[in-house]
Amino acid sequence: MADEPLIYENQFNVQGGNFSDAGKVASHIKAILKGFGIPSEAVRKTALVAYESEINIVSYARKGVIHLRLAPDQIVIETIDEGSGIADIELAMQEGYSTATDKIREMGFGAGMGLANIRNFSDIFHISSEPGKGTSLKMIIKWRP
C-alpha cells in the first residue's frame, strides 16, 4: 500500500448518535468510486463495509472519521472512532452477538451481523480496540481496472 501512488484520498467525519444521517458517508464514497469507474463488484463491497462501519460509529461512538484511499489496485477504508470501544473483539466478531439498543434495532441493524459482514466482504480486515477509548478498523478491497 505504502509503495503505491494514491489515485484519490479523502476523509469524512461521522457524528455519533446522528441516526438520521447514518449511511451518508457510505453513499458518498460509493458515488466517488463509481465516478472513478471502479468495477461495480469492488464498489459494492467498499460501500457495504463503509456503511456497516458508519453504522457502528453512529451507534457506539461519540464521533469518528472514515478515510478513503484509492490506489491503482486496491481501495482502503479506515475508520477511527472515539467511543466505548470493544472489550472482547473475538466475541464481538461472532455472528449474532450484539450490544445494540432498541433504537439501533429499529433501524434494522444490531443483529450482530455488522462486523461479520465487514470481515466477509473485505479482502483484508484489521480491527483493534481499546475499551473506553475507541475502535479502529481497516478494510482493503482489491480491484483491477
Partner: protein
C-alpha cells in the same frame, strides 16, 4: 388468504428440503399461514397462531416469541445457524426449528403457494 386444507410441517420439510434442528416429534402440526419478519416486536404484534415464522433472526428470544404466539414453527433462512442457546430453548419449549438454504422470499413464495393450494412448485 384461504385456509382451506391446512398443510402440516412434515410436508413442508419434505417439499422445501428443510433441515429439522428441533421439534422433530412435532412435525404433525398444521401450518395455517406464514409470517416473515426479523423484528421480534413486529412478530409479537402481528403474527397469528399456527403461522410458520420465516426469519433470519437467530437470537434465543425468537423461541419465546414463537411459544407465546403459538406459532407452528420457526424457519431460519439464508443457511443461517441458530445460536446454541436458541436450540436449547427450542428443545425445552417444544418449538420446531427448521433451516432453509434459501432466502425468506423464496421460502415464503413456496409456502404461500402450498398453503393457498396452488400447484406445488418442484424444488
Amino acid at each position: 388468504m384461504t385456509e382451506t386444507s391446512p398443510i402440516d410441517l412434515s410436508t413442508l420439510v419434505r417439499l422445501l428440503r428443510l433441515q429439522v434442528r428441533s421439534g422433530a416429534d412435532r412435525l404433525d402440526r398444521p401450518v395455517r399461514g406464514g409470517y416473515v419478519g426479523d423484528l421480534l416486536s413486529d412478530v409479537m404484534g402481528n403474527s397469528r397462531e399456527g403461522d410458520l415464522w420465516i426469519t433470519r433472526q437467530v437470537h434465543p428470544n425468537i423461541v419465546a416469541v414463537a411459544s407465546l404466539k403459538d406459532l407452528a414453527a420457526i424457519v431460519l433462512v439464508n443457511g443461517s445457524e441458530p445460536a446454541p442457546e436458541t436450540l436449547n430453548k427450542a428443545a425445552a419449549e417444544g418449538i420446531p426449528v427448521l433451516l432453509a438454504e434459501e432466502s425468506a422470499f423464496a421460502v415464503a413464495g413456496k409456502v404461500y403457494a402450498l398453503i393457498a393450494g396452488a400447484v406445488p412448485t418442484a424444488t
